[in-house]
Amino acid sequence: MTAPAVLEETAAESAGSLTVIKARHPGRWIAGAVVAVLLAMAVNALVTNPAWDWPVVGAYLFHPSVLHAVLFTVELTALGIVLGFLLGTVLALMRLSRVPLLASAAWGYVWLFRSVPLILQLLFWYNLAALYKQISFGVPFGPAFFSVGSMDLIGPVTAAALGLALHQAAYAAEIVRGGFLSVDPGQLEAAAALGIPRARQIFRIQLPQAMRSIVPAAGNEIIGLVKGTSVVYIMALPELFYQVQVIYNRNGRVIAMLLVAAIWYLVLTTVLSAAQYYVERRFGRGLARALPPTPVQRVRRILTVRRAARRQRPAGDGGGRR
């Protein structure tokens, strides 16, 4: 050990009031400056190039036909996700059941609907009437009570919603199953030891804990589906992507109209991401010692700290400046 300098005790040291100077980080400042310049260039390129056609974007962003298309996209997404996750949950429970036939049937479903591309599945549903002209309700393999034409029962909108939901169910089944598997088996054992009925074990004990891993994955799926609905344009349904194509085929402003669609997809995704954050917090209860603050709480906390610091400074002993 060679540190004789330490032995010289200064006045400040003996008073126990050595001042701490924070380390400098020039590298961070340079990296920050580079990124700031790149961002400025990107914004400049977007704003100043007239080819982006911003006035046209503005004119069509809230055009009634675009708004209708946005609404239809939201409807398709909601139908696909709600029906998809309902069926997916049933499939996941089948897959986890002790009845082999149920488990294999669920496996088979996931295998089939995950393997065939969504666009193909949609076209199959769209053309269902060509395969089965009539759909009958009655005793299996026995007499039918009544029949309807496939065309009447499954129009293009139903075909699209059905296609999206059935496809989504296969993915949802795996997400829900993964969620159930992530719950500590001891939880189920404790529930069984307490005599809690089976259905209650699933929905009161297992599912809420499974939700913690289901929600982030489901958020991904919902956001994926918002954009995934754009494939139904092949069925000539007026969702967002199809609608902007119709408009730019008429007015020729391709880039501007694609921008309109992109902005709306961004808006929808932003809303969903924010919603996901709060849903995750809801299911995080009890699973961490304290919940992380929401962005609003965070901003409020920073402001109170700043205000408190400002109030203290004049009253302090001015130690920082010595």
Partner: protein
């Protein structure tokens, strides 16, 4: 002798080729505390788990207060009950796990009230009042609104005891209740269990706490290799064991 509260007869249990219980007989009288000791792997926990049918036994039977657990008898045959009926009978048996297994997404109070309301269908008012009383009894009245992860291990285990008692069980089974705890937290859990024993609760406790066995147990049972080697009052089994295996085990843990 009066009818036993817990009657275990000729119980055998194998996991594949490994026989973990090899003909176990055990009787526990109402209000008695039985402490099971023995080396790890001797079948203590499996026996405890067989008593409330968390493990299915291969041969023999277990009866609680004269009622078979998991089976219905007709003549010489035992018919296995359906899950719903097994779950209903289990509510007569409290079980405290080594690792607590509290429900982390429910508050302490909800952990305690869940089973009496959903499994026993008792009125909510009565169960809420009982929960308040039980949490006071285990010294955690101020934690009713907390979540389990916000508590220490000792506090969590005391909640787990309150949760088991909320069923108003005929017998409470403890599976190494202090083994997962930091040493300084063991005492608070043992105190709760001692108070419970004094109040006349029928208890079967698997533990390595020989001091607890000496102080509280009416009967100490020594198990080794899937069998009960000897049983009797703590003064006999712990101080003047008759078997070499008991002596060997005690010399290691004392």
């Amino acid at each position: 002798m009066s009818a036993p509260m817990v009657d275990v007869r000729g119980v055998h249990k194998s996991y594949g080729p490994l026989e973990v219980l090899r003909g176990v007989d055990l009787r526990v009288q109402p209000g008695e505390v039985t402490v099971i000791i023995g080396p790890s792997g001797s079948g203590k926990s499996t026996l405890l788990r067989s008593i409330n049918h968390l493990e299915k036994i291969d041969r023999g039977y277990v009866a609680i207060d004269g009622e078979f657990v998991g089976y219905r008898r007709s003549g010489d045959r035992l018919h296995e009950l359906r899950e719903r009926d097994i779950l209903r009978r289990r509510t007569q048996i409290g079980f405290v796990f080594q690792n607590f297994h509290l429900f982390p997404h429910l508050t302490v109070r909800e952990n305690v009230t869940e089973a009496p309301i959903s499994a026993q269908r008792r009125p909510r008012d009565e169960v809420e009042a009982l929960a308040t009383e039980l949490l006071e009894q285990v010294g955690l009245s101020d934690k009713a609104g907390a979540y389990p992860r916000q508590l220490s291990g000792g506090q969590q285990q005391r909640v787990a005891i309150a949760r088991a008692l909320a069923l108003r069980p005929k017998v409470v089974l403890f599976d190494e209740p202090t083994s997962a705890l930091d040493p300084e937290l063991v005492g608070e859990v043992l105190e709760v269990m001692k108070a419970l024993a004094r109040s006349g609760t029928t208890m079967i406790v698997v533990t390595h706490e020989i001091g607890f066995a000496r102080e509280v147990a009416d009967t100490v049972v020594f198990m080794d290799a899937g069998q009960i080697i000897e049983q009797g009052p703590p003064g006999l089994v712990l101080d003047r064991p008759r078997h070499d295996r008991t002596r060997a085990f005690l010399s290691k843990v004392l």
